[in-house]
């Protein structure tokens, strides 16, 4: 029997990329575990991981707090558990459990928050979490990653499985357009410069990165040079790349599929205000809750869609001294 051909990951929904990659990681290292809290079908770990690796698949039922504790115990015994749920339930619902049993105890648990921000769409305000980057970033010992496409997700997952580091991963479940080649690597200390320009810096992460890149390409036709920095790791945060770019452009726009309070925009402002103050515009969700709505509606309502990104870049670029 020949093994199934390796999937073309760029063509898959990100949740399938997650499940296939986790399955691959378990095949390479039987200490890797997949934990779910009754959303295994939503994450595609059922059936992809559960049938291939039943001994490494643990469905905890609808109990996120217990799942985090079980993961901490597994990690204490040398296992590498990946715990998944919607971003709201993977982070804010069990924030103290993650803080104490994982981060403070420095147990090697990987937390995977799925369907970040507005990609939660049809489930609406109860499920639509805009603060997971901010609250996870505020936790000592915790790394926070938000990859932008299938190949980068795979690189991040391989990194997570091979490092002893409590980590939070934002996982887009949808299919997203490819940005990076299959051989892309991941270094949490490094931002990626996706587009070069001298007029304004545009900083993005996760789901918003492709919109940032498209915007930069469009603005190039208008003669505006946009320097695009993609941060697959929001923590640790690559200060040097940001400062080098801001020194050249003198203005920074941030965009994220999150609240503008405390997430990527917050991280950028912390660095710039201490080391090189320049004009900044933060795009994302203002201090508001989510609702049942589609992407275009939410982009318009909160002002962080492609046209808002372009407009912010034009304004800040034009105001250069």
């Amino acid at each position: 029997m020949t093994p199934p051909a390796a999937p073309n990951f760029a063509d898959l929904e990100m949740r399938l990329v997650y499940a296939h990659t986790l399955s691959e990681l378990i095949a390479r290292n039987p200490d890797v575990y997949c934990l779910e809290a009754d959303l295994g079908k939503a994450d595609a770990s059922i059936p992809i991981v559960s049938t291939r690796h039943p001994a490494n698949f643990i469905n905890c039922g609808v109990q996120e707090a217990n799942m985090i504790g079980v993961a901490a115990g597994l990690a204490r015994e040398g296992k590498i558990p990946f715990c998944s749920s919607f971003t709201a339930f993977a982070t804010r619902r069990c924030y103290d459990q993650i803080t104490i049993s994982v981060a403070y105890a420095n147990n090697n648990v990987k937390i995977v928050g799925t369907s970040p921000g507005i990609t939660q769409g049809p489930n609406g305000g109860t499920h639509m979490c805009f603060q997971d980057l901010a609250i996870m970033r505020a936790m000592p010992n915790m790394h926070v990653y938000s990859p932008a496409d299938a190949h980068e997700l795979r690189a991040v997952l391989f990194h997570m499985a091979s490092t002893r580091q409590p980590t939070y991963l934002q996982l887009i479940r949808l299919k997203v357009p490819p940005l990076f080649p299959a051989e892309v690597t991941f270094d949490p200390q490094r931002a990626r410069r996706l587009h070069e320009g001298d007029d304004v810096t545009l900083v993005a992460t996760g789901y918003m990165t492709r919109f940032a890149l498209d915007t930069a390409r469009g603005l190039a036709a208008e003669g505006i040079g946009v320097d695009v920095l993609h941060y697959p790791s929001v923590k640790p945060f690559d200060q040097e790349s940001l400062l080098a770019s801001a020194r050249r452009t003198g203005a920074v726009v941030t965009v994220e599929n999150q609240s503008i309070l405390g997430g990527l925009g917050g991280a950028v402002c912390e660095v710039l205000s201490e080391h090189h103050p320049v004009r900044v515009r933060r795009l994302g969700v203002p201090d508001r809750f989510g609702e049942v709505a589609d992407q275009d509606y939410l982009f318009e309502k909160h002002g962080f869609g492609p046209r808002h990104i372009a407009q912010a870049c034009r304004e800040l670029a034009r105001r250069r001294p």
Binding site: A55, G61, Q63, A65, V70, R76, G78, K79, Q97, S101
Partner: protein, 282 residues
């Protein structure tokens, strides 16, 4: 140390010494959870000296039995047992709760040799114990995971999440002990949040459930041995205990959860409430 050496007199003497040393150590820091420490003395001594298969000279020995103190605020009694077993020098005990200590008020796996799991935010340790027991099962290991929870702690929803999980996963290598001293910070458990019928609840959750007198050496020892024999389901031992046990100044008092020792007079009163005096090991 074989079991035959553990006469009642010797155990009583060790318990009295533990109470004397741990009370002095807590008093030196000016404040501490004396009540919930004193209710666990006999249980912790029995576990560390007669039940747990551990190697003080090799704290991470893979085949050791694990003990998780989920009611992490009783850390000082486990520290006393670990020091007397030889995990670290007894002289450390006088640093409990002091600046720069490796023996903090609540358990910290990153600081203390022999401490298996960080605990102190109530309700979390039993879940962690489930994960450790599950790892042992998956690895085909024969060691056991013991977890001490509090009665006040049993107010936490996460305890009952773990109760469902452990039974579903048939974790018969997990033995939990509830320190049922019937008091919590704000009053008697019956007044703050009723737990009864507690044993029935654990039975209904699918646990083999025992009850024991948590200050009776024979009852503790035989119940722990019986719990080890349970197959196909986790074991819960409800230990009937007395908060502040063994000190006339604290025994059975609701207000002995976290005791402040602001002055020499309070210190002397607490030390004189104990039945015997011992030479301090620091």
């Amino acid at each position: 140390m074989g079991n035959e050496a553990w006469t009642r007199e010797r155990l009583d003497r060790l318990a009295a010494e533990f109470r004397y040393v741990v009370t002095d150590a807590i008093c030196r820091s000016g404040v501490g959870h004396i009540g919930g420490v004193m209710s666990l003395v006999e249980i912790v001594i029995t576990l560390y000296f007669r039940i747990l298969n551990v190697r003080p000279e090799e704290p991470d020995w893979p085949d050791r039995d694990r003990l998780i103190l989920s009611k992490g605020h009783a850390g000082p009694i486990v520290y006393t047992a670990l020091a007397y077993k030889g995990f670290f020098p007894k002289s450390w005990l006088c640093t409990i709760n002091r600046n720069g200590t490796r023996l903090p008020s609540h358990m910290d796996q990153t600081l203390t040799p022999g401490v298996e799991m960080t605990a102190g935010s109530l309700g979390q340790g039993l879940s962690c114990a489930c994960g450790m027991a599950l790892a042992a099962k998956r690895d085909g290991k024969g060691h056991r995971v013991y977890c001490i929870i509090g009665d006040g702690e049993s107010n936490e929803g996460q305890i009952w999440e773990a109760a469902l999980f452990a039974a579903h996963q048939r974790l018969d290598n997990l033995i939990a002990i509830c320190d049922y001293n019937k008091m919590q910070i704000d009053g008697r458990t019956a007044e703050v949040l009723e737990l009864e019928p507690l044993a029935d609840k654990w039975r209904a959750f699918g646990w083999e459930t025992f009850e024991m007198d948590g200050h009776d050496w024979d009852d503790i020892h035989t119940t722990l041995l019986r719990a080890r024999e349970v197959k196909g389901r986790p074991a819960m031992i409800i230990a009937h205990t007395v908060k502040g046990k063994g000190n006339r100044e604290t025994e059975g008092l609701v207000d002995c959860h976290n005791v402040k020792i602001p002055d020499e007079a309070t210190y002397r009163r607490l030390m004189e409430g104990l039945e015997c005096r011992f030479e301090l090991p620091y």
